[in-house]
């Protein structure tokens, strides 16, 4: 007997009463898009480990929890200080969402250069419906995963960043999603759209942070279109609450001579999955897909990535590092597909995991599919425990054990943090790693906040 219908029911049931209150409710095409979304979701069901792509991750909290829609009270929950990732913004562009709700009183968008448009999904649906109609769902469409379908049906929040041709945004734009400030389990579905014109440049840092202990389900989808010769840096820190389920789908397309750089840090949340796919569609396109995950307790973190090399002369680099303590679990799937015509592809992938406890577990699956004959692709994966000789070396010099262990974790993670090209973001992410380390934390000089 299958239990799937009852698992889907709460999600499907909540669709009809909610739809009239969702953004863009008056738009016929969007209504149709949402309807297709919920129907596709119903047909596909929640992903289960029976699917190859979900072999190592089970969405148990979604099976067990009845999430409710976010109420006015949840959305307007008091926020004394904004938990900003980057140091004092001082005019730095910033958006803030609480339990999925926009909180424009915390927004800073004034200083953006001409040709940069940073708006809420709500506003863009009202002001530029035709523009967004052409783009929404083009990269995460109806043939995508069931959770993307659910997001398409329910998308209730999110932002749109549009950078016109040749415009460069120097400072990182921070988008903060605060969760956990509710007394009952809630679900929200941010849908973000980022479009960079020819030769444009921008950096976005998404900070998904949990305050309080409430359970919630954040199901985000971000579509990113990087135009010819453009540079987009996509950074994310996931520091969700203990009982959070965090699903983050990113679909990016990179045009000729453009660069897409991403770094994803996962340091909190009961269950998280970062599902990223990048399509290198123009010659000279490059992507750097990097990340780190540090887990403890019974947390589970899944990084599933796919890079498609579709044309000749494209390059990709992918480095992920993980540190797992206690009974935590992690999954890394790195799929690289070199299509038939994609000669002279240069791909590099590395996944390294440090297990701090015998109860921790990692499943690593590099998948290289190569259909062209003149390519350079390499991958490597290692999993190991803390180097006892290195630990003894540090201790034999007088460094106390707990501090020596922290130092070795920092040493291990440090290599991947070097991949972050924006210095402010690198420092902010480094601080997050340091905060993750056990208390009585030993901070080597280069790790101390200035």
């Amino acid at each position: 007997m299958t239990t799937e219908p009852t698992q889907l029911q709460p999600f499907v049931e909540s669709f009809d009463p909610a739809r009239s209150g969702l953004p863009g409710a008056g738009l016929g095409w969007l209504k149709a898009l949402r309807k297709t979304g919920i129907e596709r979701f119903e047909a596909l069901g929640l992903p289960t480990p029976k699917l190859e792509a979900w072999k190592y991750t089970r969405l148990k909290p979604l099976e067990d929890t009845r999430y409710q829609p976010v109420t006015d009270e949840d959305g307007m929950a008091a926020l004394n200080t904004v938990p900003s990732l980057l140091p004092d913004p001082g005019g730095r562009p910033r958006l803030v969402f609480v339990n999925g709700w926009m909180r424009p009183n915390f927004w800073i968008v004034g200083d953006l250069p001409d040709g940069v448009h940073l708006e809420s999904l709500h506003d863009v649906l009202e002001t530029r419906p035709d523009w967004i109609r052409e783009r929404l769902g083009t990269l995460a469409g109806e043939d995508d995963s069931s959770l993307v379908q659910l997001n398409t049906a329910m998308m209730d929040t999110g932002f749109v960043l549009r950078v016109e041709d040749g415009v460069r945004v120097e400072t990182p734009i921070e988008v903060i999603f605060v969760g956990g400030l509710t007394a009952h389990p809630v679900a929200y579905s941010p849908r973000n759209l980022i479009v960079l014109g020819k030769g444009a440049e921008a950096t976005v840092v998404r900070y998904h942070v949990g305050l309080g202990a409430g359970a919630y389900f954040a199901n985000s989808v971000t579509e990113i279109d990087v135009g010819p010769g453009a540079l987009f840096r996509n950074y994310k820190v996931q520091a969700e609450a203990l009982e959070a389920t965090h699903i983050d789908t990113v679909r990016a397309r990179v045009a000729r001579d453009a660069t897409y750089e991403s770094f994803s840090l996962s340091i909190g949340g009961r269950l998280s999955r970062n599902e990223v796919s990048v399509r290198l569609e123009g010659e000279g396109a490059h992507c750097a897909l990097n990340g780190a995950y540090l887990m403890r307790g019974s947390e589970h973190c899944d990084n599933t990535t796919q890079i498609d090399h579709l044309v000749p002369h494209t390059t990709s680099r992918e480095v992920f590092k993980g540190v797992l303590d206690d009974e935590s679990r992690a999954v890394f799937v790195g799929r690289i597909v070199v299509h038939k015509d994609a000669q002279k592809t240069d791909g590099y992938q590395l996944c390294k995991t440090l297990l701090l406890s015998t109860g921790a577990e990692i499943d690593v699956k590099p998948e290289l599919e190569i259909y062209a004959d003149d390519v350079k692709c390499s991958h490597g994966a290692t999993t190991g425990q803390m180097d006892e000789t290195a630990l003894f070396y540090l201790r034999s010099r007088g460094v106390p054990e707990a501090l020596a262990r922290n130092l070795l974790v920092q040493s291990f993670i440090g290599e991947v943090l070097e991949e972050i090209s924006d210095e402010d973001v690198r420092r902010a992410i480094t601080d997050q790693v340091v905060h993750w380390l056990p208390a009585a934390c030993y901070l080597a000089e280069e790790w101390r906040a200035e």
Binding site: E388, T389, S396, G398, V399, E401, Q410, S411, G414
Partner: protein, 249 residues
């Protein structure tokens, strides 16, 4: 300084040291020589407190105190230093940072004020200069990309900074050319002091041409087989370890 009495040590259930007796007085340099697999490195690691070495009998007394059960960092704070045969690479952690934190941990243990970055760097630069260590080696990550000789010199630099009471040099001469060995030897000789003792663990006699030991011991099959003065090292150089059954070891 160091009194080892009837020491028995097992590693993973296998007896490696089978009754070592050794007495080192303050100011003395002792050389422990022996064939491969004789237990030389085990002896040095067990004095420094490495996990995984089970003392099944006997005692190690250091400055009147039984070391059994003390963590390596506590032993380090009490003045024991082990120069590693294979110094460990630690990417992402600058040599300067590592040494400053190590020294300050030891100073904290003794209730002394920590050195600030300025004070430390000044002191480190002086010591480095004496040992012919270039400035950039201090800034680089610990032992990463160092040549064999640089790694060994870095060990001697650490020793000079941490200023131990009992220094143990585990095969410090291995992999060194003559010039590098002279620098290392000079570093050790400069630290010779009435209150400091040194144990030199080595397979070959050649380091002892530059560091003259007060006593030489031959370790084989987990026991000290013979002890003597510096002339014993020359004798071993000539005859090898055959009489101690190297072939059987």
């Amino acid at each position: 300084m160091l009194e080892i009495k009837n020491l028995h040590v097992s590693v993973e259930g296998k007896a490696i040291l089978k009754g070592i007796d050794l007495s080192v007085q303050p100011g003395e340099i002792h050389a422990i020589m022996g064939p491969n697999g004789s237990g030389k490195s085990t002896l040095s690691h067990v004095i420094a407190g490495r996990d995984g070495y089970e003392i099944t009998g006997g005692r190690i007394i250091y400055q009147g105190e039984d070391l059994t059960g003390l963590a390596p960092e506590i032993r380090a704070a009490k003045g024991i230093f082990l120069a590693f045969q294979y110094p460990v690479e630690i990417p992402g952690v600058a040599n300067t940072t590592f040494l400053k934190e190590a020294l300050n941990a030891i100073r904290r243990y003794h209730g002394e004020d920590e050195l600030d970055a300025m004070q430390f760097v000044k002191m480190m630069r002086e010591k480095a200069k004496e040992l012919g260590i270039p400035e950039d080696m201090l800034k680089r990550a610990v032992n990463v990309g160092f040549s064999g000789g640089e790694k060994k010199r870095n060990e001697i630099l650490q020793m000079a900074i941490l200023n131990p009471r009992l220094a143990i040099l585990d095969e410090t001469d291995s992999g060194l050319d003559i010039d590098a060995m002279k620098i290392v030897a000079e570093g050790v000789n400069n630290m010779r002091a009435p209150e400091r003792s040194t144990l030199i663990i080595t397979h070959y006699q050649r380091l002892l041409d530059y560091i003259i030991p007060d006593k030489v011991h031959v370790l084989a099959h987990g026991r000290i087989q013979r002890s003597g003065g510096k002339e014993l090292a020359l004798e071993l150089e000539e005859k090898g370890y055959a009489e101690f059954g190297e072939a059987a070891a």
